[in-house]
Amino acid sequence: MARITAAIASSHVPAIGAAIDNGKTEEAYWKPLFEGYEWTKQWLKEEKPDVVILVYNDHASAFSMDMIPTFAIGCAEEYQSADEGWGPRPVPPVVGEPDLAWHIAQSCILDEFDLTIINKMDVDHGLTVPMSLMFGQPDAWPVKVVPIAVNVVQYPPPTGNRCWMLGEAIARAVESFPEDLNVQIWGTGGMSHQLQGPRAGLINQDFDNAYLDDLTENPQRLREMPHIEYLREAGSEGIEMVMWLIMRGALGDNVKPLHRHYHVPGSNTAVGHLVLKPE
């Protein structure tokens, strides 16, 4: 049986990808940010997950204004790095896990979550930056990936509660997959940041740290948090954190934090990172 053994939350800032790609991780500006991921890199070498269900949002790369799925699942064999305007990131192709992905898609649809099925798309920094943060710069990624793309660009994005419930449905789907697979689920994006308008540059360390606390201590508060609270407190792009609730919803009632890291700034963004184990 496949099982979700652990979860990772992490920001996915484009400049982090650029710092890795251009060999700047040892520079004074970047070093403290990357050091907070060292524990996780070592831990992943021991955990050896087979598959990562990677929850992220597309930043107008695969999805333009032509089509905007709220929840979409990648069922492809392989995904290439998107050209976001400066050429594709020099990272290995992301290898999919179509058997599991189709199983999750089918199971979730019968479970009343009507996921959009994607057989071809490029993946942008939202997916590839967390891969680089956790695995560095290998010739090939050591895991297969099932991308879950969430719309947090065109309002309204899904509610926190809906994200949570999707996480639960994904967990049920994984548990009913007959192959013996070690599966992790990652929630990416956030934490506080605003990339637009005169209020750009907003960072709210109190909000972010309370959010990191409550993923363990009071997830119900996060589940009920309305979009306006993210916008006011964590900046317009802080809404990405709602995606972490898909990850959290997949873990059940109780979780144990294994590792936590928080650093300001990564470019315009507060970088948060958490490793959780279901109990």
Partner: protein, 134 residues
Amino acid sequence: MKQTIHEYLAEFEDIPGTRVYTAQRGRKGYWLNQFCMSLMTPENRERFKADERTYLDEWAMTEAQKQTVLDRDYNAALDEGGNIYFLAKIFSTDGLSFLQAVGTMTGMTPEDYQAMMIAGGRSPEGLRSIKDGN
């Protein structure tokens, strides 16, 4: 009772210095944003850089939208229905990072903006709500 969509949307207008990407903005900015998407190939970036005006004229954008692009006035582009993740294709074509481009919307110099971020970013204090002034 659950909030209606009207109440939900009305709250977004109460956040200082922020344009939430609502359906209204998405509809207004459709062609501006689709033009931005076209800059995701090196061929199109080269063509755009060689003659921005001619390239823009190939798109069903309003004159005001084209002007925001020519001026690289990102606040004005947001008002014309642009979304930052789409507009990012323009400043990436220019070779600017998010840090460099985003700062231009704040009225701060690039140095001051960068210094603010290193010092921990902009506090939300006083910037949560226009009506409550908090």
